[in-house]
Symmetry: C2
Subunit: 405 residues, 2 copies
Amino acid sequence: MLIVKKFGGTSLGDADRIRAVADHLTRAKKDGNDLLVVVSAMGKTTDDLIRLASDVSDVQPPREYDMLVSSGERISMALLCMALAGNGVESVSFTGSQAGVITDTEHSRARILEVRADRLTDALNSGKIPVVAGFQGVSTDHDVTTLGRGGSDTTAVALAAVLGATVCEIYTDVTGVFSADPRIVVNARRLARVSFEEMLEISATGGRVLQLRSVEFARNHNVPLHVRSSFTWEPGTWVVEEELEMEQAVVTAVTHDDSEAKVTVTGVPDRPGVAARLFRALADRSVNVDMIVQNTSLHGATDISFTVPRVDLDVSVQTCEALRDELRATGVAFDDDVARVSLVGAGMKSHPGVTAQMFETLAANGINIDMISTSTIRISCIVRKDLVEDAVRLLHSAFDLTQTT
Amino acid sequence: MLIVKKFGGTSLGDADRIRAVADHLTRAKKDGNDLLVVVSAMGKTTDDLIRLASDVSDVQPPREYDMLVSSGERISMALLCMALAGNGVESVSFTGSQAGVITDTEHSRARILEVRADRLTDALNSGKIPVVAGFQGVSTDHDVTTLGRGGSDTTAVALAAVLGATVCEIYTDVTGVFSADPRIVVNARRLARVSFEEMLEISATGGRVLQLRSVEFARNHNVPLHVRSSFTWEPGTWVVEEELEMEQAVVTAVTHDDSEAKVTVTGVPDRPGVAARLFRALADRSVNVDMIVQNTSLHGATDISFTVPRVDLDVSVQTCEALRDELRATGVAFDDDVARVSLVGAGMKSHPGVTAQMFETLAANGINIDMISTSTIRISCIVRKDLVEDAVRLLHSAFDLTQTT
């Protein structure tokens, strides 16, 4: 049975943590499992490197940036192999390139094209633990690439998929995925099991434990994930394919996200092509638009509102202003004092009352809703930023998420 | 005209130093030179990594050790390329592997077998500055290797040789090679030019500016070296092929080394094979024996003395003790309170009086000589450690090295 285990930066934060991980792996190996390990850089190593780069130059060619920020994983993987050797366990480290992680040439957000896992299977067949640098690969141009934020999770899932692992365990500094952020809701419940679809929505709407992309990858390749703590080693949250025979919780989690801002283009003519022109222009500037709401047309004109990451707010407003005349819009407004609260649950599909109950709960507590968007298993509302934590607590209580099993 | 420029750790110690190096390269590039840069890790990065490894484990597999200690150069080369980009100069970084530095599989002291410089020449032909990670290569087994202490100099010289560079400039935190250690001899003179042979002897006997191995490599491939400062940028010391038509200084430099200890095996039978057996046993324990002196035989027995790096003293004494019965030696003694003072000068070959003057100078000042060894252009004496700095000053003065041109 092959288990892929991925350890994040806090799990490898210092020499003691690295030895603790090595001890865990030594026990797991003695239990008779085949293991493959994927590591992130130690603690804040990568952040430190990014700061150093800013100190050196404002101009950071993407190829060199990737060369720089991929060094941290080399350090942690070599150290982990040394700690394993100290325990008498044979292991061998692999850079992204050595592990055969072939990517496209899009530096800093490369996508994995293929995994040529020969060296990994050789190591496994000889009883060794391969320890692979996460977050990185080698491009078809033979340059070092990185996979973007959360890339180590993606590496782990990709290797688990290619090598047919039973499970991909994601070790982190929390004990799993919760029904809400435990810092806000003290009696938030650790979820024993969520479906890939729920996890996708949770990740997309503010749950920070797993990156959206690695969950997508796991779903597409049906790799069971197990999110758990490298500090307590207790069982955490399984992320698995939805089991239709099971009764689903109507609502599984409340999530929130205060990293976005809202932009509104007012008074645009309600005719085909306007929205397309606007969002093409934003896409060309690499702005990642999230929620989009278009109001009902009034006198042949309409307002289009959308949310963007706050870091992209300036470029978004500039882009809209530049198009204002062409689109014959009456104005461009923005609001960065907003936040999003969302309900996620696979059972929502068959329980149409959830939306109404959510709106009622917020309204009864004087929280105004600014924008709404829904999917089959999620409802999101944009509210005032200073009210979002209240909204999370109210909804967690209204849907009784502490008790749901 | 291609110039290879190598920058050591102190030359790249922080963001300011990296920008200073980038500014220098920008000027040199605008002067119309083709440039190839080799970098070491920033400041004490590699030492910090070695310390971290000790904290993690006593067992450090050589392959993982090399993976670890080769990360520092990746960081400095990427940062230097960013600084160059900030100056509008196109450059491209290469790991040892990407630069085509192919080595044998001897981790931590790998030897360069071949340089497949295609990517470097492509970069040069397109007008870019290749920035190469020193100290590292990739083995014939596709693993990352390192070249041992001073390995970045070796990388620079190897690339200069392969690419036919006009000169290999070694930038460091001193302004060149001196007639003696300036910390000991205040009026030590910077040497404008020394021969490869002299530089080899200087490096071998305590001059710390250039590693022996890189000088050997430069001599074997006739690559002129220019050792100079990255803080003042002034012209430093040229290390070049000996020019026979020039009159040679009799003595060029006084060097010293207090990192060795002396071992004596007493009363061994004076018959063939005894020394061979002893030094084979030491070589098998990887002890790097330096000076060897065998006394005249007396009643068919003799004493063999030799010096070893102090870190190898324990294993050396153990090795000798283990052979004591087999060699029928009467005893094994050691002395770690010794140091070596040496005179180096290409002109010694034709000036036989140097040895006598050296001994007279030391004797006149009450400094006893414990061991002597000579080459055609060097004389070394082992003296008491607490007297070695006096010996350096006395000899520097006796041979008038401040004035010699």
